[in-house]
């Protein structure tokens, strides 16, 4: 599990503690790439990531007054990014039930430094994720791609610890079955 990701949503952001007067523009310039990366890995859609990041910061703008500890801004924005990504996945799932399925080109998610076969491998993972329920996908992604602790996964997925474990396990079984 990636220790880099483990720290992303929990560690206080020291760089903001000096400036309590956080504005939306400042928050955007500082955290938009972080939120974009998170949303991109969760949804697997490069095309919609910019719009979703905008949605995240519109939420940030409307709730900025409730942020009591500027040093937790990053974790706070991460929660909103996760919520927005969940909403996007639900919308996509719903549309696909009615036949409105956009062709996602998951092979292009990684940069040019990744070999064509590794791109295909990534594509297989995301196509397998598409077959999970949104709840299972969120739980598995937060645990296995973002490196979150189980308790944090349960908190972000708004479910009990045992439910989170069950969802992660279901996702893992499906992924192992498809990807190997």
């Amino acid at each position: 599990m990636s220790s880099t990701h483990l720290r992303l949503m929990e560690a206080p952001d020291v760089s903001t503690s000096a400036g309590a007067n956080m504005t939306v523009e400042l928050a955007y310039r500082r955290y938009a790439p972080f939120a974009a990366g998170l949303i991109l890995r969760i949804t697997g859609s490069r095309e919609s990531v910019e719009d979703l990041v905008q949605d995240v910061f519109l939420l940030v703008a409307s709730k900025l007054g409730t942020l009591r500890q500027p040093e937790s801004a990053k974790a706070w924005i991460a929660v909103m990014a996760v919520n927005v990504a969940r909403g996007a996945l639900r919308k996509r799932k719903l549309l696909s039930r009615f036949g409105f399925t956009a062709v996602e080109s998951y092979e292009d998610l990684a940069g040019d430094s990744v070999s064509p076969f590794d791109r295909l491998l990534i594509g297989r993972v995301y196509r397998a994720l598409d077959t999970l329920t949104v709840e299972e996908r969120m739980a598995w992604t937060l645990r296995h791609l973002e490196g979150e602790k189980l308790e944090r996964v349960a908190q972000l997925c708004r479910c009990s610890l045992s439910t989170a474990k069950r969802r992660i396990e279901a996702g893992q079984l499906r992924l192992q079955e498809v990807v190997g």
Binding site: S2, T4, H5, V24, E25, Y28, R29, A32, P33, A36, G37, L40, R41, R46, E47, V49, E50, V53, Q54, F57, L58, A61, A102, V103, S105, E107, D108, L109, A110, G111, S113, V114, S115, P116, F117, D118, L120, L121, I122, G123, R124, V125, H144, L145, G147, L175, Q176, V179, G180
Partner: protein
């Protein structure tokens, strides 16, 4: 390490965004514009609600409001070309979220057009800064005497100096300044001064000289959009732009726009053209490989995919793509149902790449195991 573990590692390390300062700046401008629109919408709903409450109150008291229902709407008044004078707080708002900031009380600026396809402002005097939302489907222009500044999506300032000249300076993006029959393009950080009248022969000649040197392809909106990965919008502009494309790079970008906006059939056309017209260019290998992937993964045409992977392998020679192209050719042949060819190519793969990462899969697909 299993394939799944490796995939997780690749995703953690390889899937991220690389937004530069300029991209973040444009995003921040767009965010501000969306917030402004939201505030205006809330204000509008509040006003409408208040008006409805007042009307209901009047009716309650038995007063007839006469023809009050036909009072002019906010939308109609917003479209009128009303000059705005002075003050940064007196920003002019265009309906797409673009903003104009008159610098001071001496500035006279008005909106001439504000439609989805065309937005035009006229600067009669003074100086104004413009923050224009990127949009390929509408033209944004500012007139200052004989000078017209045409914008794709950018931030710039235009000033009518006391000498009669028009000064244009660009902060971000790119603008095109037209004067008479000529034009000049200015990029980020550039500025230039133009005569207010097109009758000045020296300036017009200079602008015309620039016109002859300019490369139209560099400023095509679809290309800008494609490079920003806005493939849906870029794809919509492709048909009109095809005659001005230059080389395999544009064709690859066009193919990406088509493929990533959900139009794989259109992408095939551009990729095939690269293979046909630029067979010795490295992009031909990539194009052939991409064609194979599209046929196999998106169009379910494994026979065509096998041919294209074979072509990619031939073009790659002993290059890095050769291994992957041959492995995918085996996959395509297996799906096509040609077990004999699939096995033959699989045996070739095992012979050429005995330590290749895909040996196990290729052996399985080729029926060797």
């Amino acid at each position: 390490m299993t394939d799944l573990d490796r995939a997780k590692d690749l995703i953690r390390k390889g899937i991220k965004v690389d937004w530069d300062e300029q991209y973040l700046e444009l995003g921040a401008i767009r965010l501000k514009s969306r917030r402004d629109r939201r505030r205006r919408a809330i204000a509008f709903v509040s006003v409408v609600t208040a008006c409805a409450a007042v009307l209901m109150g009047l009716r309650w008291h038995g007063r007839n409001a006469g023809d009050g229902a036909s009072a002019p709407t906010a939308a109609a008044s917003a479209q009128a070309p009303t000059p705005v004078r002075g003050g940064l707080e007196r920003a002019l708002h265009f309906s797409d979220g673009s903003l104009a900031f008159p610098a001071d009380d001496q500035t006279s600026l008005s909106i001439v057009d504000d439609t989805p396809s065309r937005m035009t402002a006229e600067l009669t005097s003074g100086r104004s800064r413009f923050e224009v939302m990127p949009s390929p489907s509408r033209m944004f222009a500012v007139h200052a005497g004989a000078v017209t500044v045409i914008v794709i999506g950018t931030t710039f300032t235009i000033e009518r100096a006391a000498s009669g000249a028009v000064d244009v300076s660009v902060e971000h993006g790119r603008v095109r300044v037209e004067l008479g029959t000529g034009y000049q393009e200015l990029g980020a950080g550039e500025s230039a001064s133009f005569p207010a009248s097109s009758a000045d022969p020296a300036s017009t000649a200079a602008v015309q000289a620039t016109q002859r040197r300019s490369t139209p392809s560099e400023t095509l909106p679809w290309r800008v959009l494609a490079e920003q990965r806005k493939f849906q919008e870029a794809f919509r502009l492709l048909p009109a732009a095809s005659q001005t494309w230059e080389g395999p790079r544009d064709l690859l970008l066009a193919a990406d726009s088509a493929r990533l906006s959900g139009h794989p059939e259109a992408a095939v056309k551009y990729l095939a053209k690269i293979v046909r017209q630029y067979p010795t260019d490295f992009s031909a290998q990539l194009a052939a490989f991409s064609l194979g992937s599209i046929y196999l993964d998106q169009l379910n045409r494994p026979g065509d995919a096998a041919f294209r992977f074979g072509q990619a392998r031939t073009l790659a020679g002993t290059g890095a793509l050769s291994d992957d192209a041959l492995a995918r050719q085996v996959e395509a042949l297996a799906r096509f149902g040609d077990a004999v060819q699939a096995r033959a190519r699989a045996e070739e793969y095992v012979r050429l790449f005995p330590a290749g990462r895909r040996v196990a899969l290729v052996r399985k697909l080729g029926g060797i195991d």
